[in-house]
């Protein structure tokens, strides 16, 4: 039955943004176990983790496509449509990056040299922490709509964005330390391996960077 009142309510994109971000966070979190397996040289176990990363990334992709299809032009929202669409792209890029890292490492069965192992694990955990903080931010969207984007709530979000930035900055520092340490020992290893290892370090740092961008997008979404 076409009833104007029941037709009036569109499907909220916010719930889907949150579900998507939660998938992305799960996907990134798998990197932790993947790295443990890779460091101990247990490649079959690493492959299992890589598979679950890929499956989570695929699920996130499907959700992204679904959301895009469910955002007709006639939808009236408290946030701009293009902001929502960009936000989902930014979120999705995090998962893509996690899959790339695991894929490259698995494909080359890359070894992490002992001098940087500890810091490397810290860097991965750091990047995951930034993603978790981004998820916390996205979950704040509920309360933002609930209060009709009240100033107090917007301030709260701003605070959490600062926290996100701080967390990302600490991964930057870590990334530099690792590169420095690796530079000292790189001549002891095969040059090609080292080239790819630098690439991985940069990509993990980039993971945190992409998670940080969620905060930036949210800021433009909230401020109007």
């Amino acid at each position: 039955m076409s009833n104007p009142l029941s037709m009036l309510f569109g499907k909220s994109p916010i719930k889907q943004l949150q579900e998507h971000m939660s998938l992305v966070t799960d996907c990134t979190a798998e990197l932790s176990d993947f790295f443990q397996a890779a460091i101990s040289g247990d490649w079959p176990r690493a492959e299992a983790h890589y598979d679950s990363i890929c499956s989570l990334e695929n699920q996130a992709d499907d959700l992204k496509r679904e959301l895009r299809l469910q955002m007709p032009k006639g939808l009236f929202m408290p946030v701009s449509r293009s902001d929502v669409l960009e936000l989902i792209t930014v979120q999705d890029n995090i998962a893509n990056r996690a899959r790339d890292i695991a894929g490259l490492m698995l494909g080359r069965e890359m070894e992490i040299p002992a001098p940087i192992r500890e810091e490397m694990c810290l860097l991965v955990e750091g990047a995951i922490a930034v993603t978790r903080q981004a998820l916390r931010l996205i979950n704040e969207l509920n309360e933002l709509v609930e209060t009709g984007f009240a100033d107090r709530e917007v301030d709260l979000v701003e605070e959490q964005i600062h926290e996100l930035d701080d967390k990302e900055r600490s991964t930057d520092v870590l990334e530099r330390t690792i590169r420095h340490k690796l530079f000292a020992v790189e001549k002891d290893y095969h040059p090609l391996d080292m080239m790819f290892l630098y690439d991985i370090i940069q990509k993990v740092g980039g993971l945190a960077n992409r998670a940080r961008r969620v905060g930036g997008r949210l800021q433009t979404l909230v401020a109007r």
């Binding site: 039955m1 309510f9 007709p72 009236f76 709509v145 009709g148």
Partner: protein
């Protein structure tokens, strides 16, 4: 007239049947829209909604439905010019009831969005303009009514926008929304009680108490309305006291307990909405009936004869029966689709729509409750309170006007000539 002496009884019985059928249709379709927001936000259960609707639709129809009924009965057609042909008015009103009722039935079966108000107004204008003559239609009044169809959703939108903004300022955007909610929500409850009783006393009761000769001065009415408003708020405070914080649920949603407080308020606004709906929409069914009874009983067209209150009673009962036999099903369907509306915004939309409709009722203007409610919800949306609203619905509303008005008119013209041929 000999016609009325011969067929008077039959004509009145026919009118009662058609009027009751129409009232049944209002109860079966429209009430669901008025109550759907409350059910959808889970502030009240389906059973509670039916109970509230039955009581307050009836009260609204009986206590405050008089003014709009008078408009439908004698405000659209220039009855004064029809003294020579009272039987045409009877045929016309019969056809209008039948046309609107049948059109509503067809449209519901086919799933088209229609409005009871638009069907009946279209039908009356149709038979009068084509069957009798365009000069018998009070076009200025029609312009008024049609303009109100655009204005009423706008007004409702503005009121609910302001209401939600006040909620944001007073309750949601504060350190302790739960405590503030308990403190400020009785004010909104007072507004509900005041509004309903004021409209009832100033406008509605004149039609009910016209026989007894009791009249209330404006000052007395206002005082009494304030008193009733305070009583409403006190009842509300009693129920608010029983709401406790739920820290477990607040972990998932910080505003869980606050919404529980608003859910109590929504019980009150649901009553207000049902009352408003009853006061405006009962006229669609009993207005034509009142016209027919008036003409047949007195044998002439008069504007002055008082309307018997049993007519409003019949309409009220018809609405309740319609709700009980079919309307509850529609209500359940709509409630399932409106889940994005939490009590804190559902109440703002309902109170905005209900006050607009009740004021329209007081001034005797038939408006569409559903369209007014859509306007009110959009108002809350403009205050950034709802995650996603489908604006295409505005187009649907315009289309429903374009379809319903000619359809109601066409059917009414058809029936008018049929009755004219039958009774002469």
């Amino acid at each position: 007239m000999t016609l009325f002496a011969e067929y008077g009884q039959i004509l009145i019985i026919l009118a009662c049947i058609f009027g009751f059928f129409m009232a049944w249709g209002v109860g079966a379709n429209d009430v669901a829209n008025a109550m759907g927001t409350s059910v959808g936000s889970k502030a009240i259960t389906l059973k509670q909604a039916i109970l509230i609707a039955m009581v307050f639709e009836f009260l609204g129809a009986y206590l405050a439905g008089g003014a709009v009924t008078a408009t439908i009965r004698s405000g659209i057609i220039d009855a004064g010019a029809m003294v020579d042909m009272p039987h045409y008015l009877v045929y016309g009103m019969l056809s209008a009831l039948l046309a609107a009722g049948i059109w509503l039935l067809i449209a519901s079966v086919l799933g088209w969005p229609v409005s009871t108000t638009h069907s009946i107004v279209g039908a009356i204008v149709g038979f009068a303009a084509v069957g009798i003559g365009p000069e018998f239609v009070q076009w200025s009044k029609i312009t008024h009514i049609v303009a109100s169809w655009v204005v009423s959703p706008l007004v409702a939108g503005i009121i609910s926008f302001a209401l939600f903004r006040s909620v944001q300022y007073l309750i949601l955007d504060t350190d302790d929304p739960f405590a503030r909610a308990k403190r400020f929500i009785p004010i909104y409850m007072f507004l509900v009680g005041f509004l309903i009783s004021m409209v009832t006393m100033v406008k509605g009761l004149t039609y009910v108490l016209s026989d007894s000769g009791i009249t209330l001065g404006m000052g007395h009415a206002a005082l009494l309305a304030i008193l009733i408003g305070i009583i409403t708020a006190v009842i509300g405070i009693y129920f608010l006291r029983r709401i406790q914080r739920n820290p477990e649920q607040e972990k998932h949603n910080r505003f869980y307990s606050v919404e529980k407080v608003f859910a109590i308020l929504m019980v009150f606004t649901a009553c207000c909405m049902a009352f408003a709906h009853g006061s405006n929409d009962v006229a669609n069914a009993v207005g034509p009936l009142a016209a027919i009874v008036g003409v047949v009983k007195s044998g002439a067209v008069t504007n002055t004869t008082a309307m018997p209150s049993w007519i409003l009673l019949l309409g009220g009962i018809g609405i309740v029966v319609g709700l009980g036999t079919y309307g509850f099903k529609v209500m359940a369907t709509i409630g399932k689709k409106i889940t994005e509306l939490t009590p804190s915004r559902g109440f703002a939309a309902e109170l905005g729509a209900a006050s607009t409709v009740v004021l329209a009722s007081a001034t005797g203007i038939p408006v569409s409750t559903t369209h007014t409610l859509v306007g009110a919800v959009l108002g809350v949306g403009l205050a950034r309170g709802i995650a996603a609203l489908n604006l295409r619905v505005i187009g649907t509303i315009f289309t429903s006007w374009l379809i319903t008005l000619p359809a109601g008119a066409g059917l009414a013209i058809l029936f008018f000539f049929f009755f004219k041929g039958l009774f002469g």
